[in-house]
Amino acid sequence: MNDTHRNPEDESMNAIHRDLAAFRKMTEQDVPELSHVARAVRNRQSRSEERALMKLFRDHPFMAPAAMTLAILFLVMFVPVSFDRTVGQDVSLKLSGAALDEARVKALATEMKSQLGSESVEVHAEAGAGAPSLEFRAFVASKSDAQAHDVLDAFQRALTEQGLQVATSLKPRVERVSGNVAAYAAERVIRINTQGKSAAQIESEIRSAMIDAGMDDVQVSVTDRPEGGREVRIEANHEATQPGQEIEEPQLVLEGEGQMTDANMLRVKMRKLKDDAGVISLVVEVQDKDRSATATVQNPDSMSESALASEVKSQLFSAGIDADVTFTNGKIEVRPR
């Protein structure tokens, strides 16, 4: 080999060759005898059966412990707790670079109030070297920032075209509230009554409720099935902005005729997670009737959509859910067989 033409990949192959040989040798050291393994497995089997007996005991408790459990649960539900709740968005639009007359300021504030759906818009003026800069502040009572974001974008584009310098900001307003565990849980539950409503009305109500609960890109489709019943499909996204931030998706409860229960519902939850080392994992959780399964695929971005679907399908199958899985443009479709 000519040293002047060394290719790092070829040299890495040499290293891989030698490392594989060492790895092979190390893993062949001290292979236990089959009889030894059999003894260990039989011990393990006994321990496992003991655990199964304990579980059986737990599954059939006596009435007194049951009452005690209920009492404790009751107490826990009413123990006061504090939790953070996003109550809306603080919106700010700063204008500078040109003087605006009073009528124009008033018109802008009115338009902003109407577009954002906020109760009021405050205007603050700050004197500077040239024309005073103006700040329009408003509060939007929506947990999702999507709508306010769109409105601010539209204002920014229109005002920039008119020669103004525009700066916008959008901050969620978080309040620490005191309540009990039941109140905290209720925060995450969306209840929608479907009685006597058309598919379009239900679609619209679910979409609004999901957006208010802080979910973005909400797509809802409600269709009446020819064989009876309704199919409700909901797709919503939410991106964590802080490392380790837990995203709690709201729980949807449809009440009225044709109640949605776990027995006739398929839930598919897909999350992309990045760990501290920067490794991305795709986690797909599927709940179909009384069965649930999770598939985890590392480095999904390096795989084709068909390979990804095949891996998720295989993992779901191993976990007891036989389903057709497809990925199209990053979106997953799971159809149990």
């Binding site: 890495s12 040499n14 040989a21 790895f23 092979r24 190390m26 062949e28 089959l34 497995v41 390096s302």
Partner: protein
Amino acid sequence: MNDRPEADRWSHLLALLDPVHRQAVTTARRLASSSDEGDDLYQESVLHAFRKLDTLRDDSKFRSWFFAILISKHRTRTRRAFWRRFLPLEDAASAEREPAMDPGFGEDEWMRSRRMSQALLALNPGERTALVLHEMQGFTTEEIAGMQGVTPSTVRSRLTRGREKLSKYYVRRGWVDDAAAGSRANLAAVHLEGSR
């Protein structure tokens, strides 16, 4: 249904395991993050095989049946290992202890083995399993496809991607081998004799 007496089923399972025992232990160790972890994976697979033995219709298919169990158990463990990353630091440290240096190995050989183990763990589970089974255990792509529940072309893709990633992993860390310069080894040619 487990109609046969337990002792009979154990004897039957051990007779079937005997010819594949060594290969299965080494496979488990190569898939796992350490030999201890691999031995534990093997035991878990044997226990599962014992419980499901009556579902094996044809003894001549035992080898692929048992390896499919081993791979499935490994995949379940990999998923568990993923969640371990969210444990507090001290728990995570105890979950994956660095193995001590084996006195039977030279420092260089031990280090080489460790870094291969580390590099394999950086691959996704499907690629790692395909590489270990094909490159180190000598299984064909068709056999691996049957065990992983995918098509042979998927296995071939996993092998290609796995080899590329392994090579890039080594290059990124500067793990090139001056001592072996001259032999333009190709991982595909590094078909180490499996212990079949």
